[in-house]
Symmetry: C2
Subunit: 312 residues, 2 copies
């Protein structure tokens, strides 16, 4: 990290949330911006307390940048983020920015049934009213809902191209596959950028045998390498089934590329057992790299995007 | 509860949060309004889901009234409230109302130290942006902060008079005492309404012996009954010490009257051990009535206040 003297001109302050300390630290290093200390406690009645140490700054920051992610412990992480934004807002000359690579409740992004909340709308409107002028996220489930419900400046960084690019170390001219039609956009983006073929999987049930097939709409996976791309791996069921079916249909090798790895319960085991060769993901949610898991650090794309939009 | 036919004209819907089912039920009964069923679940990844059953209503309600309280499990209860408000908002013809007798984080109502959030501001602005047009609460820690930070119509119902009135069953012309100067307003309100003497306790440290005394500013408690009035009992330390000192100074009998009883840890034991004869409180937080604890149901004052402001 650069010393204070060298970052006076940029006047940024990076404020790390509990779930994203390492990511915040990496962003601070890349931007040459100070990473502020946070004092946290829980009161006897269970109320959460945060305090940002602004004392180390000589001048108020032009931009306060709260970095947190909303998994694990969605609700506590959300409250902590609201409080950090509220506290940052008071000290900021220009804009308070929330960097939240994974936003919880993002899949409840429309009214599926009468009487439901649009939870994602509630979350976004709270982030805004707590103090976020700008929200930067990564590969959000519905980019349209992000734009519609966050009443400020919002940016969704697409990273499926980075994930697919990383898969090329392990695969030979792979087909880029979406597990369903809904996930086609991020697959198309990556494939077109990298000059690869792409398609999405379609489910068919045989009327006689009742057997379920899952095959690409147009292409054949036979004798081909495949990278299956999705935004979120939760319990891993969808991805594991997609991988298994590709291998059953003659694919040579299957790699899974997913931005946000929640990996609930035995998700990882399911994915390995389905015959997946590698899982490529990001640190939008804290995760350890292993022989099986390659983790792409998001601090690079996030820092570049910040430099682009706030000219620091 | 009245049948649907009889409440068609009022067009209210009462929506109970997890922490306030009984209070919501009582309010629904008093207003002759339907209490809607809530479907709740937690997804495998830990995200909370609610769905309000609006099917039983013939017409959309003019007023949807979400009743919840933010203790215990402050953060989860807060998120649930936001989601209920967001869901209710969609179905409501006129106004969405939040009834939250106890609002968590209400004591962090100003900037005590640099770099802190005003947590209460964050909570109130989120309730507003999630969908609450009106917020009704009970004996909030800072009525001024409520007005300042909730950017809608807000009402704070004072109940210290009800608590003190209830204490008259056990006490003879008591002095109404605030444990400190900050709590004087609600004591003054109750005492003036009931024609009783009032005062607040002041701490003195003897310069020679180092002994700490705690005595009313003007009055003497000697041979007098005393009711100590406060808004929140958390760990019970303040109230227990106040009661103990009153008894040491010759008070005949001490009753404690507090609106919100969190009663953290062994708070109740501390209060009993200090010699308090009775604790009078409300169901702003779910609590069981016992030989020692008298609980005043808030549904009556809340229903009356609602009838006054929305003319139902």
């Amino acid at each position: 990290m650069k010393t204070l003297a060298t970052i006076d001109n940029t006047s940024l302050a990076i404020i790390p949330g509990s779930n994203a300390f390492n990511l915040a630290k990496n962003i601070a290093e890349k931007l040459g911006a100070p990473l502020l200390d946070i004092h946290r406690k829980v009161f006897p009645d269970g109320e959460h307390y945060v305090r940002i140490n602004f004392e180390k700054l000589v001048v108020p920051p032009n931009y306060s940048i709260v970095v947190n992610t909303l998994y694990p412990k969605q609700n506590d992480a959300f409250i902590e983020t609201l409080f950090l934004l509220n506290a940052a807002y008071t000290e900021t000359s220009m804009n308070t920015i929330a960097i939240i690579p994974y936003i919880a409740y993002s899949r409840q992004d429309k009214l599926f049934l009468r009487g439901e909340p649009v939870s994602f709308e509630a979350v976004l409107s709270c982030l805004r009213s707590a103090g976020a002028d700008m929200l930067l996220t990564v590969d959000v489930h519905s980019p349209i809902a992000l734009k519609r419900y966050f009443k400020g400046f919002s940016i969704n960084i697409l990273v499926s191209d980075l994930l697919v690019k990383a898969s090329l170390k392990y695969l030979d001219k792979p087909i880029v596959l979406a597990p369903d039609k809904g996930a086609l956009n991020r697959v198309r983006y990556a494939a077109l950028k990298l000059g690869l073929e792409f398609d999405y999987l379609v489910k068919h049930r045989d009327r006689v045998t009742g057997e379920v097939s899952l095959e690409p709409k147009e292409l054949s996976v036979k004798e081909r390498d495949v990278v299956i791309v999705d935004d979120i791996i939760s319990t891993g069921g969808t991805i594991a089934l997609a991988a298994q079916k590709c291998l059953e249909n003659g694919a040579r090798k299957v790699v899974v590329a997913a931005t946000h790895s929640l990996l609930i319960g035995n998700a990882l085991e399911k994915i390995r057992n389905a015959g997946v060769a590698k899982l490529i993901t990001t640190n939008s949610i804290p995760i350890e790299e292993t022989d099986f898991i390659e983790v792409i650090d998001l601090s690079d794309v996030i820092s570049k995007e910040l430099q682009r939009v706030i000219h620091v």
